[in-house]
Amino acid sequence: MLAFYRRLYPFKPIFHWLNHAPTPEDLFTKREVAFNLPGDVMIRYQSFADVDEFKRQVCKLNPTRFEIGPVYTSRPRDRKTARAGSFNPIARELVFDIDMTDYDPVRTCCSSADICKRCWAFIAAAVRVLDTAIRDQFGYEHLLWVYSGRRGIHLWISDQEAMRLTDEQRKAIVNWLNVVPKDESKRLNVRFGSRALPASLKAALDHLAMVFTELILLDQNCFESEKGSAALLRLIPDTRVVDALETQWASGLSSSEVKWKDFQTQIKSYKKDSSQRAQLIAAMEDIILQYTYPRLDENVSKKRNHLLKAPFCVHPKTGRICVPVDPAHIDEFDPEAVPTVTQLLGELDAADGADGVEHHSDWERTSLRPYVEMLEKHNQRMMDEVRRERRGTGTFLSASRSPQLNHSADMSW
């Protein structure tokens, strides 16, 4: 583990990512980092002046993993010297966590902690929908998706406005995005009366309808079992249709696809423009959403001071690295192909050969490289924007505040 931190962990890119600028600012120096040590020991409220100190401390404590918290009004490690009540979180990335366990009621391939390539399709669908929704509806651009190392995925949003959101605003965005009720037996409640889906969900539905056919009907075959079809029937609001389908399906086993077709045939038995038909079509849309729409772990997002595992940490159970994921290629991502810490150290030994000299950024010589480069590109876009903004709002101010910043920009010219 220590070798991993000393030689592989990309401290500098992580620092840039948290700091939004090349030289340490409040975003980094007043940021809480919490260490998880073996035996469920947690050291909270750590903070560092610069990236070297950060790395030194990580190597000294050699934690199993560490988590990122909010930016506070003063340095977290000095919090005891702050006046009572004046040590408060003021900023933090807007984070989301999607966990496979929330999908247990609708997946048939694995359960609880297990994950396979097949259930990853749920996550892939969720990423697609969330990524589009947040970019389109909320206008945020700096989204970093990170595989959590086992069965979930995290999203970190670093836009200025997103960083500054209050807890109340975070709660609002979560409720806006969250659609599937916690209680499995409840139906979706997203419409006002019998009206059409709100625009935000209509957009998601177009994509999810495709996912539904492939994933729910064909791959997972959710409705084949008796339990599965009972769950489906519970979501249909028309008793006549439910009775008809029940008798139809009682005779023998039919696949999910056939059952879904039966349901659609039943809908068509009502006249066009009849209220029953409209109601059932709405129910059908709701069912598609219920089975495929992203399921968020709300509590992670709602509070500014929630801690979340840092990217590139090692998952303690699987040994896999929490690597960034490109949302454009989310469907091709294979969680089982993510490098593990043992694999990386092995690669390093092989590359070292006989000389055995340790380098700082040894990740370049391992299969971790593409992932770190992904983060660096993300950082570059973010830092470009910050720089542009500072120039725009007054060269005077930014020049006096961080001369090195402009200097280095000139150099790169």
Partner: protein
């Protein structure tokens, strides 16, 4: 450099405003965002009364929330209370001193800011109650005057033009209730962060971080603005508080005010209520009155006194003053206490207790007319005897409620859960309501007009009033045809 210049102009202009303030109409609108602090001389008395009156309203709003009143109920109760303690008439109202009403409103708000900026908890509660008050006033405000108020401030919303509206027509329509009224609907664009409540309920169209707010939801922007504005100002005030704490004249008042949220503000109960009932009370009547009309704290003291034939110093003080205000004359009080302490000799009684009784009636020592203790004093006292709702253990309270008031289990559970949430006066008020259900008191009525119990004497007086009214009614029935 630029910054400093900018600041100095601000200072200059604020100086100007201060001078002009005395010439101009100070409060052109009934609604206010309380932008400018009161920059005039205020007497200590005005300082305190304006704040106390406002606190009454805010406390009532808080207890409305604790008692799960609906929005309409809260609105009615608050409006009635406002009428009584903090009238604020519209600009068109005739024959009222609008300016002084608005001045009191303005001043009270700022004094309470001082009292409630001190802790996170107080700030949160104050902002919540003030925002509710603002909402109620906003809703009840005259519509033309509200328009005037809205245009007097820059809310930084961008009106959505025809082209843009047409562009997002499908999206906007999916949040719109009726297709036919869509053409006439006006939309305003703000960053979504300014209307989190609308986002939370998925009520508006969002695009690129902009919320398209229809005019019927416009108030959301206003409320949110009021809230953020107040939150920010309170934090700023909190930073200056240490300096103010040196002012000894104000510190006591402010401390007292910030406690007011705990039990609500009670009226001074220092005069006797005998005139109210047209009869004085004698020592022999106390037993009967205690069973029928006393709030739990006083019944507890009475029972203790009867059971132990003694009562500790604070118990005697608290109970004695309560009886005094209830209408027990000093002679009767001496007789009452003498018979209660039936295990001591006349001599000890005269030496140890008589002086104190006469003292509390203002007949000895500094001859002050001591008021009876309010709920706030009892709640914040050490707890012996204290307020049963706060100081009893859950089991004791449960059995006491059954034995004293004969509460049924569903009522009991309701009261206990209120106590658990630390809403002691709400629990007491609920007991009053249950106890007087036969006199037609319904849930939420409180001691009349939705008022909560804030003083033991208020409880007793209202209870006796109700009993008398019922007696008269019964008498009228007998006499009547």
């Amino acid at each position: 450099m630029f910054k400093i210049e900018a600041r100095s102009t601000v200072f200059e202009s604020s100086d100007k405003i201060q001078v002009e303030l005395h010439k101009d109409v100070k409060h052109p609108h009934r609604l206010s965002f309380y932008d400018k602090p009161p920059l005039y001389d205020v007497s200590i008395e005005e300082f305190e009364t304006s704040a106390l009156n406002r606190l009454r309203i805010l406390a009532e709003i808080e207890s409305s929330a604790a008692r799960n009143r609906t929005w309409e109920e809260t609105k009615t109760v608050t409006t009635t209370q406002c009428e009584k303690y903090l009238p604020l008439k519209s600009s068109s109202a005739l024959g009222v001193d609008r300016e002084s009403q608005r001045r009191a409103d303005h001043l009270g708000h700022f004094v309470l800011r001082l009292a409630f900026c001190r802790s996170e908890e107080l700030r949160r509660r104050f902002v919540k109650a003030e925002t509710t008050l603002f909402k109620i006033r906003y809703e009840t405000d005259d519509s033309t005057e509200r328009e005037l108020f809205l245009s007097s401030r820059d809310f930084n919303w961008i009106a959505v033009d025809k082209v843009e509206k047409e562009k997002y027509k499908q999206g906007l329509l999916s949040y719109h209730s009726r297709v036919d009224s869509f053409e006439a609907e006006r939309y305003y664009k703000v960053r979504w962060t300014r209307v989190p409540d609308l986002v939370d309920k998925r009520k508006i169209f969002l695009k690129g971080g902009w919320a398209y707010v229809p005019s019927r939801e416009q108030s959301s922007i206003v409320y949110q603005e009021f809230e953020t504005h107040l939150e920010r100002d309170l934090l700023a005030t909190a930073r200056y508080m240490p300096r103010l704490d040196e002012d000894t004249r104000l510190k006591g008042i402010l401390d007292n005010l910030s406690q007011g949220f705990l039990a609500g503000v009670s009226s001074e109960w220092s005069s006797t209520s005998t005139d109210l009932n047209g009869q004085s009370i004698t020592a022999d009547m106390v037993d009967d009155l205690a069973a029928k009309h006393f709030p739990m704290c006083m019944r507890n003291s009475h029972q203790k006194l009867r059971a132990d034939h003694r009562l500790n110093h604070f118990g005697r003080l608290q109970y004695g003053l309560f009886l005094k205000v209830l209408g027990l004359s000093v002679e009767e009080a001496i007789r009452f206490w003498r018979t209660s302490f039936d295990r001591i000799t006349d001599d000890t009684f005269n030496k140890m207790y008589k002086y104190n009784i006469r003292h509390s009636y203002g007949l000895e020592g500094k001859r002050a007319n001591y008021p009876a203790h309010s709920c706030q004093q009892i709640l914040t006292s050490g707890g012996d005897p204290g307020c049963p709702f706060r100081h009893f253990s859950a089991e004791n309270l449960r059995s006491a409620l059954v034995s004293m008031y004969g509460l049924k289990s569903e009522d009991l559970n309701e009261v206990m859960s209120t106590v658990k949430a630390n809403h002691f006066h709400v629990a007491c008020t609920r007991v009053f309501e249950i106890k007087h259900a036969s006199s037609g008191v319904k849930k939420g009525d409180g001691t009349g007009g939705g008022e909560s119990v804030t003083h033991p004497n208020q409880y007793a007086a209202k209870s006796m009033e109700l009993a008398k009214a019922q007696e008269e009614k019964a008498a009228a029935m007998v006499v009547g045809p």
